[in-house]
């Protein structure tokens, strides 16, 4: 059976999405993305260096015809900034996709969900496909859906922390009862098992940047994440066994000597 991810008419080939920050250079970025099998890559919007025109462009390495470019509004602490960056991103890019971040605090980079909700509402009305980076609160996820979000991106743990899925129960509630739109776990995935856990919970996709870019061998980790996401998704669809405190023998008692 086909198991395709569709977010507001946009079809995705992979359930692993990857970031492009923190790599050593563009060459390493490219190799890691290829190894990950991802067809979605996140990018940020920043000023062009107008004095040094020789500096290379990320899009020289990541072909927008091959990958879906998902611009973020990382670094935005106000609704106004998030809207401004989103509108610039749409003009610089080729799609209406935006990974919306309205950050509330520098140390944790936790989302300011009140600002996030306002910005989601405005951008959805402007025709953006809004994917808000939010916390693991099911009620906020529902509010974002009501405001026009095309998917929600709850955090597993703080951005870049590698702490894994800290609240799997809330993530499950978001998936099972809070929203009908796709759920993409964003942030906190530190290693392959974290990605598998997110997918086993029933997430539609996982977005990873630091977990890959910060690994000793980013290209190898990208491959590990690819397999973990595939395995986790298959396990979710296969339906895991229930957990029990005591043993049940796998081998028959009958026929024993």
């Amino acid at each position: 059976m086909e198991d395709k991810l569709v977010i507001k008419d946009v079809e995705f080939r992979s359930r692993l999405w990857v970031g492009t920050g923190k790599y050593k250079d563009f060459e390493e970025t490219k190799k890691a993305i290829e190894a990950s099998g991802a067809d979605v890559v996140t990018v940020s919007v920043r000023r062009v260096n107008i004095t040094d025109r020789k500096s290379e462009n990320l899009l020289d390495y990541i072909d927008p015809r091959k990958y879906k470019i998902l611009p973020n509004t990382a670094g935005c602490y106000t609704v106004e900034d998030a809207l401004r960056y989103s509108r610039l991103a749409r003009e610089a890019g080729i799609s209406d996709l935006v990974k919306l971040e309205v950050i509330g605090d520098e140390r944790t980079l936790f989302p300011d969900t009140i600002g996030l909700l306002k910005a989601t509402e405005v951008l959805a009305k402007e025709g953006f496909i809004v994917l808000p980076y939010t916390n693991d609160d099911p009620i906020m996820a529902r509010r974002l859906e009501d405001a026009g979000a095309a998917a929600v991106m709850p955090l597993g743990a703080p951005i870049g922390s590698g702490l894994g899925i800290r609240n799997p129960y809330n993530i499950r509630i978001i998936i099972e009862t809070a929203v009908k739109i796709p759920v993409v776990v964003d942030a906190g995935v530190g290693t392959a098992s974290d990605a598998a856990i997110a997918m086993e919970l029933g997430c539609d996709a996982v977005l990873i940047n630091t977990g890959i870019a910060g690994a000793k061998d980013p290209v190898a980790m990208a491959s590990a994440m690819k397999h973990a996401v595939i395995a986790g998704r298959l396990a979710y669809r296969a339906g895991r066994i229930g957990k029990k405190l005591y043993a049940t023998a796998s081998s028959p008692i009958e026929g024993m000597l």
Partner: protein, 72 residues
Amino acid sequence: MRFLFFMRLKINGETVENLQAATVGELLDTLRIERGKVAVEVNMSVIKKQDYERFLLSDGDAVEIVNFVGGG
């Protein structure tokens, strides 16, 4: 023939003097910036690519030219 006019613009936060660019399109050419991969904002408003040639710049305008960089 167009009247040559040397302007002062604030580009990406830096003041740039003696610019000879009447439109956003000419400014990008002057700065040797490829149009396909950037977005331009003049005084906080995004300028659409199809308007680059006709959007006239004025002395003192604040211009932002952005592109995509690595990010999560």
